[in-house]
């Protein structure tokens, strides 16, 4: 049984929170380059240029990419041959707390949804735990902006709605809310599971690299088709009209009940801040 100290987890989360707020990963920057090549609208091109310039300034490490540095979401995969010395939950929360305070990031978390008082340190983060083989701890981190999160939706479709129903729902989410979610977007789509599982799948998909297609060719083809259909909407960068509305559609699936066809779309803005670390 391998043992690691919880303090290592805190440090890893702190570092990820700060790094992601300032520096977008290469996959996202490459998607911007490709978008700029494809875009034909002059306003759209100008916005893509601004977005790239913004990424360059933020990467210098003084001003975050976006003022909404998000609510932190963490998928923690714990190897069954690993023991964490200390309190894992508290270690992750402490990492988020330190990252947001020390990194001059915005504290966007309220302690209660209706009484709305800011917690002052961006905790709590939302953490999803799972157990995996091996003796490692994998942490997938996302800093998820609130504006695009607000445009996300979930539907419990009927089995008879089928593949077409799922695709129409995804396109409708973008058609209705895409302009408000800071396009170009990355869509995380969950299909299957049940009511809560499908939302979690969508989040997992939203935090996947925009360059990585689903391993199942059936779903990989659906990702490409949905991307094309969404881009045909004409919403464009920042919703002002153009050819590039989504950078990628990422699908994650799970078995489901025979009466069900759950689908969820987690919308992510161009500030696609995702990263992972293995301890």
């Amino acid at each position: 049984m391998r043992v690691i100290d919880a303090a290592k987890v805190t440090e890893a989360v702190r570092a990820l929170a700060i790094e992601k707020a300032y520096k977008l990963s290469g996959d996202v920057l490459r998607a911007f380059d490709e978008a700029e090549k494809r875009e034909k609208s002059e306003t759209g091109k100008e916005i893509l240029r601004q977005i790239k310039k913004n990424a360059g300034i933020a990467a210098q490490g003084e001003v975050p990419y976006c003022q909404d540095t998000g609510m932190a979401v963490i998928f923690a995969e714990i190897g069954r041959d690993l023991r964490i010395e200390g309190n894992l939950e508290e270690a992750i929360q402490e990492g988020v707390r330190r990252g947001y305070v020390e990194g001059y990031l915005r504290k966007s978390v309220l302690g209660d949804p209706l009484r709305r008082k800011n917690t002052g340190d961006n905790t709590p983060a939302i953490i999803h735990y799972s157990v995996a083989d091996g003796d490692k701890l994998k942490l997938v981190f996302g800093a998820k902006g609130g504006g695009s999160e607000n445009m996300s939706r979930l539907a419990m479709l009927k089995p008879s709605d089928g593949e077409e129903g799922v695709k129409n729902f995804v396109v409708d989410v973008v058609s209705q809310g895409g302009a408000n979610a800071c396009p170009p977007l990355v869509l995380g789509v969950g299909i299957g599971g049940n009511f809560e599982k499908v939302a979690q799948l969508a989040k997992k998909a939203a935090l996947r690299s925009p360059e990585k297609r689903n391993a199942d060719p059936y779903y990989a083809a659906m990702e490409e088709e949905l991307k094309e259909r969404c881009n045909k909407l004409g919403i464009g960068p920042m919703g002002l009209g153009g050819l590039v509305t989504v950078l990628a559609v990422n699908i994650e699936v799970f078995p489901c009940h025979l009466v069900a066809l759950p689908v969820a779309v987690n919308v992510n803005c161009h500030a696609d801040r995702h990263g992972e670390v293995i301890l």
Binding site: T43, Y65, R106, C182, N231, K232, G234, M238
Partner: protein
């Protein structure tokens, strides 16, 4: 589509001549406020109090910046989504506001009030918080300090890059732009 260098606060004439698609570099004094600050301002006015700033011709920027580093003016400061302020915007126009800076679509009540009061809606690039930081030369909290990122701020800006996304004759670039590019990809 014209290009302008403008000064805030805005005169009625300037606000009226702007059309959707126009590019603007805005300089001067603007006020930063979002959800919670709008709620307080509108509630204060309903109780007969005055606004914490002179609203005549004012431009309000829907923004909740990240914290400034020591010695710096402000942190990242891009626009937030406008529809959450739709409930308050017509009242602010009645009080003299002549321009809004934000991102995203507005409802019909806001568009009608813009026509009635000759108000312009500027789009800033959402998420470009670091780039916009460079246009903000001064920032100070003038009210509601307890709201943190949502406090009311007076800001001095220079050449803030904007696009007119809603104009005082009912033009809406979110609708028009999409119509122009639908089916083209």
């Amino acid at each position: 589509m014209a290009e302008y260098k403008l000064q805030a606060p805005l005169t009625a004439e300037v606000a009226k001549k702007l059309k959707i698609g126009d590019k603007v570099l805005l300089s001067g004094v603007i006020y930063g406020a979002r959800d919670a600050a709008h709620k307080r301002m509108v509630e204060a006015v309903a109780e007969g109090e005055k606004l914490p700033f002179d609203a005549e011709g004012s431009v309000i920027y829907y923004v909740g910046p990240s914290p400034a580093r020591p010695g710096k003016v402000i942190g990242a400061a891009g626009p937030t989504t406008a529809y959450r302020m739709d409930a308050y915007a017509p009242k602010m126009m009645e009080l003299g506001m002549r321009g809004m800076i934000a991102k995203g679509k507005r409802n019909d009540a806001v568009k009608d009030a813009m026509k009635k009061h000759g108000v312009v809606y500027f789009g800033a690039t959402g998420g470009a918080g670091a780039l916009i930081n460079r246009s903000i030369k001064k920032a100070e909290v003038i009210a509601y300090d307890d709201l943190g990122p949502e406090a009311l701020r007076r800001m001095e800006v220079e050449n803030f890059p904007l696009v007119v996304v809603g104009d005082s004759s009912g033009g809406d670039l979110y609708a028009e732009g999409r119509k122009q590019w639908e089916g083209k990809a």
